[in-house]
Structures are given as structure tokens and as C-alpha cells.
């Protein structure tokens, strides 16, 4: 357990140094929302490393922001897996925010403030994030990092390319009602998945050549036995339609390839099933492995001319 005040050391990634010479990032990894299923990204990182392909850019949304940040900080796959196990446990959402409960029941009397409203106490989450990332800043990461959240006021996607990593993740993973929205630079932010569950557009905007994207659909309910479940079902349907729609657009808008890695996670994974992380990583690696031959061909073909600044 790292007890230093300084953040985790950033180990340079073999591909990153070479990439700096080019105007465009060659390979970008986009990790969409999916809570602990996002660990599949570690498997993808492994597959890329085995193929000798370095990452030049990482984008993370919601749960994916944690993995994106770990990778950007330079942690090799095994370390990321281990840190995740320690960071993301059930205790994070165990403490109820009693004040919030009262606010929900008697909004006017208890002065309901949407900025503060979250049914879960976020202190443990913040402590864990600080243990993992300390005072690390997004703009100082070894691999360029971008974290996406959603502007609570108008629903627009907000891309955080600077600032504290802990703030970025806390905002990006601010699951509505579970955790309160998070203020960054004067803007109230919530979970990134509300604007785009898998923000490939960020990589497109930065001119990345090949984009590897991993994301997950919101799970459907096992049975619709109450209006509450039905409401969640609707929410999942709409989120998934948004995911597909955004992905379709982004694929068309991109000048090169967007490779969607779809791990076959057959078991039902609940929010804190970190025991299943090794299985998820394996499936992520397996799914990524299938794309490696084509990815290599693409990189060989698209070797960009280096431009003088």
C-alpha cells in the first residue's frame, strides 16, 4: 500500500515516446461506462502490449475513467488489476447519506439542493481515489488522458483534459442519485454516460488514427415486477439507443477505423463483483486478441508522415 504523499510513479510506456513525434495520436483507447466490466480494458492493454503496440491516448467515461487514468499514469496491467481490487469495493456505497434521504422525503423542509444530492456518502470513494492517484493531474499523465462527464444543467458532454485525476473520476462516475453531482471549474457535472456512454468522439476530435473502443450496454432488468424496475428498464433502453447512435455517427465521422472490442461477459456482473475481475480481464484480452492482426495491418498502412511543427 503506497503511503507516500506523492502520486504513483508514472512508468513510461514504450509506444508513447515514439508517438510524440507525430501530430496525431496513432492508437487511442476509449473505455466507456460499465462499472467493473470496464476492467476488460486491462485485458485489452495486455493484448496491445503483447502485439508491441503502444497507446498514444486514453479516453475514459464513468467507470472507464478509473481504468483510463490507471493506464495513463503508466501502470502495467497487473498493477492496474490489483489497484482496482483495492479501490472498488462494496464499502464505497455502503454508507448512506442520511441527510440526502431526508431531503428526498421532505425537499422543501430539508432544503433539497440538487448539487448536494446523493443517496450515498462519497467519503470512502474519495479516500480510495486519493490513495490511488494522490494529487496527480490529468495533463501530467504519461499518456495523454481525457475524462468525460456530463454538464448537469444542459446534458452536454464535458471533456476534462486537465485538472486533478480524482476530480475527473469523481465527476465522470457521479452516477445519478447514488452520488451527488461534482463541481469542476464552476460547472456541476454528472456521470459521463448520460451524454455519451462510449465517447469515441474525443479520440476522433484529436485526430487519432486507429481507435480501439470498449463499452457496455446498460443491463436490462431480469423481470419487470414494479414501476421502479420498469423505469430502470426504460432508462437502459434509452441509454443503449444513445450508445449505438453515438457510435454509428462517430464511426462515420472518423477518417480511419474504430475497432469495437466486445468482450463476451456472459456472467451477470453486479456493481461490485470485483472477484470477477480476473475473468473480465481475460475476456477483454480474448476479444482484443481477435482484432490484433487487423490493427497491425492498419498501423502499417497508415504510418503517418511526420510533420514539422
Amino acid at each position: 500500500m503506497n503511503t507516500d504523499a506523492s502520486p504513483m510513479p508514472a512508468a513510461p510506456d514504450s509506444g508513447a515516446a515514439a508517438a510524440q513525434e507525430h501530430t496525431q495520436p496513432r492508437v487511442a483507447l476509449v473505455i466507456g461506462s460499465g462499472s467493473v466490466k470496464c476492467a476488460a480494458a486491462i485485458g485489452i492493454q495486455r493484448a496491445l502490449a503483447r502485439a508491441g503496440i503502444g497507446l498514444d491516448m486514453v479516453v475514459g467515461c464513468s467507470g472507464g475513467a478509473i481504468y483510463a487514468s490507471l493506464m495513463a499514469a503508466g501502470h502495467p496491467p497487473e498493477e492496474s488489476a490489483e489497484i482496482t481490487q483495492r479501490l472498488w469495493t462494496r464499502e464505497i456505497t455502503q454508507r448512506r447519506n442520511r441527510r440526502a434521504l431526508l431531503q428526498a422525503l421532505a425537499p422543501r423542509w430539508m432544503k433539497f439542493r440538487v448539487e448536494q444530492f446523493g443517496l450515498r456518502d462519497d467519503r470512502i470513494l474519495m479516500t480510495r481515489l486519493e490513495e490511488a492517484f494522490g494529487a496527480a493531474r490529468i495533463e501530467d499523465m504519461a499518456i495523454p488522458l481525457h475524462i468525460t462527464a456530463t454538464d448537469f444543467a444542459n446534458g452536454e458532454m464535458v471533456v476534462l483534459s486537465s485538472g486533478r485525476v480524482t476530480d475527473g473520476i469523481r465527476a465522470s462516475a457521479a452516477l445519478p442519485f447514488a452520488f451527488s453531482p461534482w463541481k469542476v471549474d464552476g460547472r456541476l457535472l454528472v456521470d459521463g454516460f448520460l451524454s455519451d456512454p462510449m465517447p469515441v468522439s474525443v479520440a476522433v476530435k484529436h485526430g487519432a488514427s486507429v481507435i480501439v473502443a470498449v463499452g457496455f450496454e446498460s443491463p436490462y432488468q431480469e423481470s419487470l415486477t414494479s414501476a421502479g424496475r420498469f423505469a430502470f428498464q426504460l432508462s437502459s433502453i434509452m441509454s443503449n439507443n444513445l450508445l449505438k447512435s453515438r457510435f454509428a455517427f462517430q464511426s462515420l465521422a472518423h477518417h480511419s477505423e474504430v475497432l469495437a472490442v466486445m468482450p463476451a461477459v456472459k456472467q451477470r456482473i453486479r456493481l461490485f463483483d470485483t472477484a470477477k475481475v480476473p475473468y473480465i480481464i481475460e475476456e477483454g484480452e480474448r476479444a482484443a486478441q481477435e482484432q490484433m492482426p487487423y490493427l497491425k495491418q492498419l498501423l502499417a498502412r497508415n504510418a503517418p508522415a511526420s510533420l514539422e511543427a
Binding site: A104, F112, V190, T225, S226, A227, M238, L242
Partner: protein, 296 residues
């Protein structure tokens, strides 16, 4: 290729009107259509989703006076959303006792059904003079379902079945709900049916400034998602269509709830305004096939 509609084709571009979901806001479509007709812009095909079905059906049946039709529509709408079914509300709150059933709904739909029946009677799609497509959503899979035959009543009732407000409607053995759940502005239907110029009228949900409670927050988040979905779908269709998708999107300055009939004049006005903003380009675009190309 991304070129313009070739002048050499010399045929009038097939023009579709797509009216998306938006509950009562959809009445603005009557105002928009009034302007389009005044400007001589012909419609060859209509697609309606949720609240947009009423205007779509009216156009497909030959479209008389827009203002009179809007008034008729308002009268039918009035009172349709008043009858809350307390039995259903109670069932919705008792998860362990309620049956595994997708039929949760706050409203008793008898008045809504009577209003729709008054609007279209027993008429079918075959009675329409223009190709007409109404869009609903499969309650089980969340997928889009396009209705283009059978009774208009069934299609409209299915397409407006707002989840948790109205019960789903079964058509040909399929449980259907609000078309807006799968696609609030189904431009792709017009694309698939061969339209060149697609005039798409979409209605974003109003985003409130102050949010004072849990329910408001829930509705707020739902509105953000719906608006993002509308934009995302529109972006995708714009980029995949071979010709033109023209968006008519009124910018309403106020929330318009299901019962806000007092806003109807305002809604009609904003619908007219949104159409007028696109008329100059529409006229140029549709005139293209009839005149030699000019350098712009």
C-alpha cells in the same frame, strides 16, 4: 458521395415530412405545415412518432385548414390526461404484489381512446392519400416498430403510449409503447422509403433551471437523455443520408406539460416560425430540379 442532388436528374426531389415525439408540443407541426403549404412546398410522404402522429395523419388524409385542425385536436386532447387511475398507481408501488406486467400506467386510457376514435374513426392506412408511417416501440425489446397498415386508431394509440402514463397497446400480438422510446425523430423511416429531401420536425424537452425535488431531478435526467438521443440520431441520419435532412426545431422558452392547452397559440406560432426559417433554402433546394444549375 456527398454532392448535391444532381440537376441532371430533373425530377422533383421526393419530399418527406417527419414529425417527432413531443407530446403537446407536436401541435406546433400544424403551424409549420401551414407555412409549408403557403410556400408551395409539397409533401410526398409522412412519418409520425408519438404526439407527431396526429398531424402526420391529418396531412396524409389530404390536410384541410391547419388552424381548424389544430383547434379540433386541442378539443380532443382536453381532459384526456385528467383521469388518474389510483388502482394502477397503487399497484405500481407494490412490487411484490403486482403481477409481472408491463402494463403499469398512471392514467385510465378510456378518455384518450375516445379522443383518438373521434379523430380517426375506423379509417385505415389504406384510406390515406399519401404514404404514411407511424412509429412505435416494442415494449419487450425496445426496438422501433414501423406501422403502415391496419387501423389508424391502433397505430396512433400504440405510438403515444407514454410509458408509465398510458398502458401499452397490443397490435398484431405485439405489446407496443411510445415510439419516442426507441427513436424520438425517426428520420431513417423516410430514408428507407426513398425520400430525398426530409423535413424533420423535432421537439426537445425543456430543461428547467431550478430543480427542487427528487421527482424533478428524475424528470430532468430523463429530459437530458431524450434530448441527447434526438441529437445523436439526427447527427447520424444527417451524415448517412444521400440528400438533405432539414431540421425544423422550435426553441420553446417554457415547459409545455401534457395539460398545457393554454399554450396552443404560442406553440402554433413557434411552429410557423421554425418553418419560415428554413423556407428560403427549401425553395432553392426544391427549385433545383426545375432550373439549370447556378453557381451559388
Amino acid at each position: 458521395m456527398t454532392g448535391p442532388v444532381p440537376a441532371a436528374a430533373r425530377r422533383r426531389p421526393r419530399t418527406a415530412l417527419v414529425i417527432g415525439s413531443g407530446a403537446l408540443k407536436c401541435i406546433a407541426a400544424f403551424g409549420a405545415v401551414k407555412v409549408l403549404r403557403q410556400e408551395g412546398i409539397g409533401i410526398d410522404m409522412v412519418v409520425g412518432c408519438s404526439g407527431g402522429c396526429f398531424c402526420a395523419v391529418w396531412i396524409a388524409q389530404g390536410a384541410g385548414d391547419a388552424d381548424a385542425e389544430a383547434a379540433r385536436f386541442s378539443r380532443g386532447w382536453e381532459g384526456s390526461f385528467d383521469a388518474i387511475s389510483y388502482r394502477r398507481l397503487a399497484l405500481a408501488c407494490l412490487p411484490s404484489i403486482a403481477k409481472t406486467d408491463r402494463r403499469f400506467a398512471l392514467l385510465d386510457d378510456r378518455r384518450v381512446n375516445a379522443a383518438i376514435a373521434d379523430y380517426v374513426g375506423e379509417r385505415t392506412f389504406a384510406d390515406a392519400s399519401l404514404p404514411l408511417y407511424l412509429v412505435a416501440t416494442d415494449a419487450a425489446s425496445g426496438e422501433k416498430v414501423v406501422l403502415s397498415d391496419g387501423r389508424l386508431f391502433d397505430a396512433i394509440r400504440a405510438s403515444i403510449a407514454i410509458p408509465l402514463i398510458l398502458p401499452p397497446w397490443t397490435v398484431a400480438g405485439q405489446d407496443l409503447v411510445d415510439g419516442g422510446v426507441s427513436d424520438p425523430l425517426p428520420i431513417d423511416v423516410a430514408m428507407r422509403e426513398g425520400a430525398d429531401v426530409i423535413i424533420a420536425m423535432g421537439f426537445e424537452e425543456h430543461i428547467e433551471g431550478a430543480r427542487s425535488g427528487l421527482l424533478q431531478q428524475l424528470l430532468h435526467l430523463k429530459s437530458l437523455t431524450v434530448n441527447n438521443l434526438i441529437r445523436s440520431q439526427y447527427a447520424f441520419y444527417s451524415v448517412t443520408h444521400h440528400a438533405e435532412v432539414i431540421l425544423l426545431k422550435p426553441e420553446f422558452d417554457r415547459p409545455v406539460g401534457l395539460r398545457a392547452l393554454h399554450h396552443v397559440p404560442y406553440l402554433l406560432e413557434e411552429g410557423e416560425r421554425a418553418a419560415r426559417a428554413q423556407v428560403p433554402y427549401l425553395r432553392r433546394l426544391l427549385g433545383l430540379a426545375m432550373q439549370p444549375t447556378e453557381v451559388g
